[in-house]
């Protein structure tokens, strides 16, 4: 030891006073020591805090990945400018190479492409347009809006027409389509947009072929109503493609049959118009005849392609979406939530650190108090994370408050919070299984909506959270089906098998899938 130090006191301190050297503040040192000791104790008492810190780091990494991906997608935006120039592997790789040589890492996007292999074609083009439109947005709500048609209305003179505007990722971004068919009263515009095509008019007079007889209410749904000011009544037109134009002899002059089934206009390669991929799937009409393009079918096909793109985006982020839900479920099981829960956990926190610990037995618990306090804190964290990840949760304070109210949280009863969380988990798992089922079906993208409509109907959502049920809950559920031969039980069993095959729930037998 140096001779300058006597009895633990630095003898040079008085000499340094006033020489511009800052003296150590003993109170500050004590405070720092206390903070360090507190942090160490905290880690010993609550080892899961370390996990929380790790999760925050992982969250930061995820944010960085999302920002990098958004930068790549923004760099790919020029690819979407010309809708007549399809996106191919060649054009996509050229633009990615541009970004790579500019120092922007593109491997996440390349991995995404490798996970959903496709050849060049309209489906590849449509899916990548949707991905670029959604991925280039930094706000989750805007990203969703980029691939979802926007509802709105257009003033067409005497009436307001509800419409849908095609999203940025569509092959016809910004195109306005009437909802539910045209309903134009009075002297209409030169062309009446029917959604599936235009009925040509001349000074307000439709020049197509009107259906002579008054159609039945059921048939009206397949027709376009156009007001005829001379007859003071509605004329009905086929709700498909471009309406036929006939001469005085009743013969078609525009190549479309004057009656019966009408084919949509043929799409020439390279011509501006809908790509074959997003053409409507064939749909049987009520009368048995098959129409290839009923009203809105083009939009239906385009929407299906966009929905598939959005579903695959969600599927890519499955693990990061499911993690807070699983965490919330585990924490909620050990936490006292609901009215008074926060106060109770405040008291526990106080009692745990003071001699008043003796009165701990007065508080209801099966777990130790500190474990329950920790579970409460974790549940609060995870459920807040779920609310932030919910629609609008990250957009504004008001959006976040609404999302918290709409999601499970520590302010509602424990049973309700658990039930809602399990329901959300089941829905998310079912969504993932559906997307994987469609990927394995080999169907084209324009069939996604129809496939999913049928698939969803065939599933029992409860099956996707069976691993989270208690044995009593499972027994009660199976009993409620009325026996293993019932359709409800078979449906449930098939859903469980689907979930196991997709890997979203563990196989009860423990066998690897």
């Amino acid at each position: 030891m140096s001779g300058a130090m006597t009895g633990g006191v630095d003898a040079s301190i008085p000499l340094q006073a006033g020489k511009g050297v800052q003296q150590p503040n003993p109170l500050q040192q004590i405070g720092q020591f206390a903070q360090t000791a507190n942090a160490l104790n905290d880690l010993k008492l609550f080892p899961l805090r370390q996990q929380q810190v790790q999760q925050q780091v992982q969250g930061g990494q995820l944010g960085l990945t999302n920002a990098t991906n958004a930068a790549v997608y923004q760099g790919l935006l020029p690819l979407t400018l010309d809708k007549n120039k399809p996106i191919t592997h060649d054009s996509l790789s050229t633009w990615l190479a541009n970004l790579e040589s500019a120092g922007i890492p593109t491997h996440n996007i390349v991995n995404m492409l490798a996970n959903s292999p496709q050849g060049d074609g309209p489906e590849f083009d449509a899916i990548w347009r949707g991905r670029i439109a959604a991925g280039s947005q930094t706000d989750a709500a805007q990203a969703l809006g980029a691939v979802t048609p926007h509802a709105g209305s257009v003033d067409v003179g005497p009436a307001i027409q509800p419409t849908l505007t095609a999203p940025a990722g569509a092959t016809n971004p910004g195109a306005v389509t009437p909802v539910g068919g045209a309903f134009v009263k009075g002297v209409g515009p030169q062309y009446v947009n029917t959604g599936g095509g235009n009925v040509p008019t001349n000074n307000g007079q439709p020049t197509g072929v009107a259906i002579p007889n008054e159609p039945s209410p059921a048939d009206r749904n397949q027709l376009v109503q156009v007001w005829n000011p001379q007859k003071k009544a509605f004329d009905y037109y086929p709700r498909v493609g471009v309406a036929p134009m006939v001469n005085g002899a009743g013969q078609s002059v525009n190549g479309l049959p004057a009656s019966g089934r009408i084919q949509p206009p043929a799409v020439q390669p390279g011509a501006s118009g809908p790509s074959p991929d997003v053409q409507a799937p064939a749909t049987p009409l009520a009368g048995g005849a098959a129409a290839t393009s009923p009203l809105g079918s083009q939009q239906e096909a385009e929407a299906a392609v966009q929905h598939l793109g959005a579903a695959r985006e969600r599927a890519n982020n499955y693990q990061s979406a499911i993690f807070p839900i699983e965490g919330a479920l585990t924490s909620l099981e050990g936490a006292d939530t609901g009215k008074g829960g926060e106060v109770l956990n405040g008291i526990r926190s106080y009692l745990g650190d003071t001699p008043l610990k003796l009165f701990n037995f007065m508080l209801p618990s099966s777990l130790s108090d500190q474990q329950r306090r920790q579970a409460f804190d974790e549940a609060q964290k995870y459920t807040t994370g779920m609310a932030i990840g919910g629609p609008g949760g990250a957009r504004s304070d008001a959006g976040n408050a609404a999302s918290i109210a709409a999601n499970p949280n520590v302010h509602i009863s424990n049973a309700a919070a658990l039930a809602v969380t399990k329901s959300i988990l089941a829905q998310r798992r079912m969504d993932q299984t559906g997307t994987l089922a469609f990927n394995n079906s080999g169907l084209p993208a324009n069939q996604y909506d129809r496939f999913m409509n049928t698939w969803q109907t065939q599933q029992d959502p409860r099956a996707f959270a069976i691993d989270k049920m208690t044995p009593e809950d499972r027994a009660a559920l199976v009993k409620s089906f009325g026996g293993p031969k019932t359709a409800a039980y078979q449906k449930f069993k098939a859903s469980v098998q689907s979930a196991i095959n997709a890997g979203v729930i563990p196989n009860p037998s423990g066998a690897a899938q």
């Binding site: 060649d90 790789s93 060049d120 079906s441």
Partner: protein, 134 residues
Amino acid sequence: MANNPLASRKPVAPQQHPGMMHARIWQQVQQTPPDDLAQKTAQTGFVTPILGALAGDPNVTRKDVIKAAADAVGSGKVPATQAVAFISQMPTDPTKIQAWLKGLYGANFSALVHLKAAAMRQAPAQPQMNEVQQ
């Protein structure tokens, strides 16, 4: 130790980081002679969409793969030796063909991006505006 059944955790081979594939491909591209870049880019650009179409088909068979390889040779874009090597690597188990094709598709697309990026870096720099003015 590795075969000790009483061991609490069996040793597990460390998983490769997904970014390593891109790193290896980048390294290979860097080692490619500049004169070969254009030819390799053209070949990879031709093959990648074909692999994508095959890998995207859940019912793909050995016959489909062999036919695609034969067509590629017939088009003159791929040498017959490469096609034979490609076919000889194909798994015999039909259930493994799609996964194998998927891996090849990802690797080829990544290679295509890196090959094009390398070609861009090697291209003569365009004269800057201030250089033109001088």
